[in-house]
Symmetry: C2
Subunit: 207 residues, 2 copies
């Protein structure tokens, strides 16, 4: 049974993520999850005291693996253009590799019952605030160095987040056309960069 080397807890996390992502929080019952894991419902409560705590743990893991993936690639890069391109590529790579984690993060901003909603939103907005500040700082430097056209760095960061959101939403929710964004990513990036800098990028986005 080398098939069964995963622990029950690991399978629980994986199947719960898949179900929450596909059917939503309220649309997934603990019995559904138990069935996929291959145990009885009551057994799940040895790992989490409630369904809400299970979701919060999944969200925590998704957010941290997401931010880790996005941060690491741009570490050694100095110029703004290269860092943005690296960030874009990390984000798209991650969303392809871990669609369930992306869906979980989206869940947060969508429909969960009242109390849980507040927990989830505060966790997400912590991350969002930190990210927004980092990006604004990055664009501030870019403006100072003349790498982009002089403009309010907060608005540049806003355009950047609009662009990224548009790409990731397409990737997460799209039905059949999912891969058109991926295969045209280089062109999309060129449009974006020309919009903020007035010049064509020299960076290449490789899939």
């Amino acid at each position: 049974m080398s098939d069964q080397k995963t622990t029950t807890h690991e399978r629980l996390l994986q199947e719960a993520a898949a179900l929450f992502a596909r059917r939503g929080y309220s649309g997934t019952s603990m019995s559904d999850i138990a069935r996929e894991v291959g145990v009885r419902k009551a057994s799940l409560y040895n790992y989490y005291p409630s369904k809400a705590d299970l979701l919060m743990d999944l969200l925590e893991q998704s957010l941290s693996s997401w931010s880790q993936a996005c941060d690491q690639r741009s570490e050694g890069i100095d110029d703004t253009e290269g860092r943005l391109a690296a960030h874009l590529q990390s984000a798209v790579d991650f969303s392809r590799a871990h669609p369930q984690a992306m869906a979980l993060i989206r869940l947060a901003t969508a429909q969960v019952p009242g109390d849980l909603r507040r927990r989830v939103q505060s966790r997400c907005s912590d991350y969002e605030t930190k990210w927004r500040q980092e990006m604004t700082g990055l664009f501030q430097e870019a403006v100072d160095r003349g790498e982009v056209q002089s403009s309010d760095p907060a608005i540049l960061a806003l355009f950047w987040s609009v662009f990224l959101d548009g790409i990731l939403v397409n990737r997460v929710f799209a039905t059949e056309k999912t891969d058109s964004v991926v295969s045209s990513l280089q062109s999309l990036w060129e449009f974006f960069w020309r919009g903020v800098s007035g010049t064509s990028p020299h960076t290449e986005i490789s899939l």
Copy 2:
């Protein structure tokens, strides 16, 4: 009781839209809706044979009022830039005026149970396909006239949809920062247009 001039059916549609938008389809019960409408649950079944049919009617209404709002404003305009700007403004105006309709449309691409999901997605992808074709045609003309930099019109339309999605997702899901997109819309539009045309727009987006 001039308070009560609305019919029960009208209140049903309104309250159901509000609840589905806030808590999702599975997260909203027929009892919840009945409570808001001010009748007993059984009475709702005089208007719709099932919860799923209620959702489909709401989705139908949301999609048609959305497309109507977006189409009408760009009717008298000839140049691509002006038409896109009008479309952008209509879309943002509509999402501010009818956030529930927007949320309903998003619901479609998110979590609903299996059978209903297929009905909902086919309805939405019909609309999406039609829209995509229109936009590709519009960009084809723009390329032919030299209004934008020579490029594949399908990819220009893709960038356009990424941009719009990014803005609307921000508007729909945002917690507190909702209005930063609205107040910076002119700047975002300038970035977008410079990206596709290489020149600054002469159109002004007014809030």
